[in-house]
């Protein structure tokens, strides 16, 4: 997706804060940050990890260096299998003017040699906020892949398709996001954070409802009512 198109679509949908969470990759985060900030959109760096159990885990960061730190740690854990563009696309890296500047040789749509609990710990070790992705999805979500929420992990935020938190996540707050793979999917699902700044620390405080902060997950249908 074109960086400019993503940002324009977000703005058109009344979105104030976006995060980029490419699959096992951060090659576009700095370009996206530049384009987003130039249009006064708040921005969080991110990545969507795929663990050994085929579970998707989002990782959000306040700064580029921490995000890249996680990416460097996980890259050796991505199998050496090369990409096959016929089936999986070209995995291109573009600059803000949409010129192709490179491509990722390893297949990104693959599982890291990293278990789910270990992945959660690794994200936190690198200063990130781990959020299990689309936990109520019938594939690649924590519940579908494992059948339950494992012991030894807790979350402040849990991403869902419906905005409803499934059982087993304790006091976590449900969020929704578009998981957009095409520009027209942006804005389909959003979350309203009532908080004092676009940082992961504020997102955690909002999840905990500290001092009047809050988190409200919305699907487009619910927002339009």
């Amino acid at each position: 997706m074109s960086p400019r198109r993503i940002v324009e679509s977000a703005v058109a949908n009344g979105i104030d804060l976006i995060a980029i969470a490419d699959h096992n990759s951060v090659s576009m985060v700095d370009t996206m940050a530049e384009v987003a900030l130039a249009m006064d959109l708040s921005f969080l760096y991110g990545m969507e990890l795929q663990t050994r159990e085929d579970i998707h885990l989002l990782a959000y960061f306040d700064d580029s260096a921490s995000c890249h730190g996680l990416a460097q740690a996980i890259y050796p854990l991505l199998p050496d299998r090369p990409n096959e563009p016929t089936y999986f696309g070209d995995q291109v890296i573009v600059d803000k003017d949409e010129m192709i500047v490179g491509s990722e040789p390893k297949l990104l749509v693959n599982s890291l040699d990293l278990g789910f609990n270990e992945a959660v710990a690794l994200v936190r070790e690198h200063g990130g906020l781990p959020v299990p992705a689309h936990v109520d999805r019938d594939a690649y979500g924590l519940i579908a892949q494992l059948g339950f929420v494992p012991e030894g992990v807790t979350f402040d935020l849990v991403e869902t398709l419906t905005g409803e938190l499934p059982a087993g996540f304790g006091d976590a707050a449900a969020i929704c996001s578009s998981d957009a793979h095409q520009p027209d999917q942006i804005g389909q699902r959003t979350t309203i954070f009532n908080m004092n700044g676009a940082t992961i620390c504020e997102m955690i405080l909002a999840a905990q409802r500290v001092d009047g902060r809050s988190v409200t997950a919305c699907t487009k249908e619910r927002r339009m009512k």
Binding site: Q50, R52, D54, P79, R81, Y87, N110, S111, D138, A139
Partner: protein, 111 residues
């Protein structure tokens, strides 16, 4: 063994009737973690799985799988069927479990 004979002997349903299915099955692979199947399945395998979402088609194409057999009576989504048709990947079904059908397939291929 040719796929039509396997379909017949194991009483499998053909979920993609528009596609021809005269390929050769040389083995089988059971797996529900797509990344694992991608790494381990070999060309000509009949892939036995409960997964019925659209991504199974790309995995089958890349791995050279003879056909995908979805077990436990699960049915593929419309998107999966459409992708299978475009990618010429045969989808089969059975109400049996992966364990039961794999055992029968193994016996069949060993004869």
């Amino acid at each position: 063994m040719r796929l039509p004979e396997i379909i017949d002997r194991l009483s499998l349903s053909v979920l993609t009737p528009a596609l021809g299915f005269d390929s050769d099955v040389t083995g089988g692979y059971c797996g529900d973690l797509l990344s694992h199947v991608l790494a381990k399945a070999t060309k000509g395998d009949l892939w036995i799985t409960i997964q019925h979402h659209a991504n199974v088609v790309a995995v089958a194409q890349v791995a050279g799988i003879a056909a995908i057999l979805i077990v436990d009576g699960r049915l593929p989504s419309e998107e999966t069927l459409a992708r299978a048709k475009d990618g010429k990947i045969v989808l089969l079904g059975t109400t049996e479990s992966a364990f039961a059908i794999a055992a029968r397939l193994h016996t069949l291929l060993a004869t």
